[in-house]
Symmetry: C2
Subunit: 303 residues, 2 copies
């Protein structure tokens, strides 16, 4: 769990990191989040500052329109009105968002897609998730949008945790890349970064695994661009730390797959693991601007 | 070319149909559109009514944000500021939109997806185009969004007019279905409706061609639902006139392809060939409400 206290220009005045007590159940997670908000509020007071409100972003299915944490397999909650709960616990106006959509918003306002109105942000780590910023706003689909990791790139391929087969995640997540290398060679490797290092040295097995991931990513990006007309694709998460080793071949394969569609630029994320916190800060700043002290969301008013 | 004079509740007071003089070049098309607007304005005067403004929707690449008709292969224009041109010719405030996005807007406000916030509208005719209504607004992608017909459903498959291979259009458009039946059997057929009639009678070749189109459509819908979290899919255009013969198997195949994703309802369009006109009317009504007499668009003001 990460938190930050921002000033009005989203400069961090304080940050915190806490282990998320996921194994202790959803109530423990909510307690820890409430304590983190109170600790940051206390730090604001130490600076002689008042907190105008809090943005909280979480994984899973999040409905921004209803301010509901609908479901998180890892954190165990269902249909939790998390903004309301945390507001009651802290006395702060709280706005709830989704971690990856908030990260995409941060990259599109402050990061690698500043000033770009149609952006696909892809976080490639253990899984793969996307955030689609359309005409300047992250598409929510009432919580269901952006599941790029579950586009089928290999029909009939490997079984995915979602129950499907051949999802992008099974081929191109950081975990899948490392696992594919080990399955192919019997050699253990330090995650996707280890595979990337071998690719840079020309290891034929690593290159083959990498190319398959690149091709699958390019297929999913071409699909998304065809539907959304994205101007820019921002790749983030662990796999994207490989930099041009990933971006170069993804650009080339994507270019080969597109015909009349808009050709987006493909760039690395700039905000790294600060994207989520900055996105939460942006949500809070926007909510405070709309309704100081009360946080009116698009569909309703929350304290 | 179709036109209608609407009252404030979008009831048609007059309609017109004109051949589009596409072969005579873009200037002739613009002239005919301007004359159509003036004719409808005259009919309003005959009713003792004043026209508050006009919505004009056209095919191809249309940038609503810049009010530009960027490109239409059939109509021949490039980067034409069509709203401004028609406004100068008619003295009316004019707002420009895209034909399929306007149709999707109409279905989502007045038709088969009334009250639904996340809608995919698919027009299946000679080609296939989509309109994605996200959180209540058609996604524009600065003119490039919604190219459902060019999702690749059969990698390495038949050559598409776009230059790609295996696009949805090459398998599941009304034209493609009829052509596939003739290629398979050597028998001529009255378009996709003729194939549908044979399917209803159990003709094995027709059933095979139909199933391939259904499967391709379901693949493209599953992809779109995964990215957008659509609540409802509205199928329109010539192929959708087959009704449950199309909708039933599409629902079943889509259901088989989805795992954790939202499961949208799949329904037939309600507005038929009135969707475009009604969508244009909605655009005009919204523009007039925002800026009576001047039509301020999101990004600028047009006379």
């Amino acid at each position: 769990m990460k938190g930050a206290l921002f000033d009005g220009d989203l400069r961090p005045l304080a940050v915190l990191h806490e282990p998320t007590p996921a194994a202790a159940g959803p109530q423990a997670v909510v307690d820890t989040a409430a304590q983190a908000l109170l600790r940051l509020t206390g730090q604001a007071a130490d600076h002689g500052l008042r907190v105008h409100g809090a943005g909280v972003v979480v994984p899973g299915i999040v409905r921004e329109d209803a301010q509901l944490a609908v479901r998180s397999v890892n954190l165990g909650w269902r249909d939790l009105p998390l903004a309301e709960v945390l507001s009651e616990r802290t006395g702060l106006p709280v706005v709830l968002g989704h971690d990856v959509r908030a990260g995409g918003l941060a990259e599109s306002v402050l990061g690698a897609a500043r000033g770009v109105r149609n952006v696909l942000f892809v976080a490639i780590g253990t899984g793969i998730a996307g955030a689609l910023v359309c005409d300047g706003e992250p598409t929510q689909g009432q919580g269901y949008a952006g599941e790029l990791g579950h586009l089928v790139v290999d029909p009939g391929g490997a079984r995915c945790a979602c129950g499907g087969r051949g999802c992008l995640e099974t081929v191109a997540s950081a975990s899948a890349v490392a696992a594919a290398f080990t399955a192919r060679t019997g050699r253990s490797v330090e995650g996707a970064a280890g595979v990337a290092a071998l690719v840079a040295r020309g290891d034929a097995d690593a290159v083959s695994v990498w190319q398959r991931a690149v091709d699958a990513l390019a297929t999913a990006l071409a699909t998304t661009v065809t539907l959304f007309g994205c101007e820019r694709v921002v790749l983030g998460g662990g796999l994207a730390e490989a930099g041009e080793l990933l971006l170069g071949p993804v650009r080339q394969r994507l270019d080969e797959k597109l015909t009349f569609q808009r050709r987006p630029s493909v760039v690395a994320a700039e905000l790294g693991d600060r994207a989520g916190c900055l996105g939460a800060g942006l949500l809070a700043r926007r909510a405070a601007a709309r309704a100081p002290g009360t946080f009116a969301t698009a569909e309703g008013v929350r304290r």
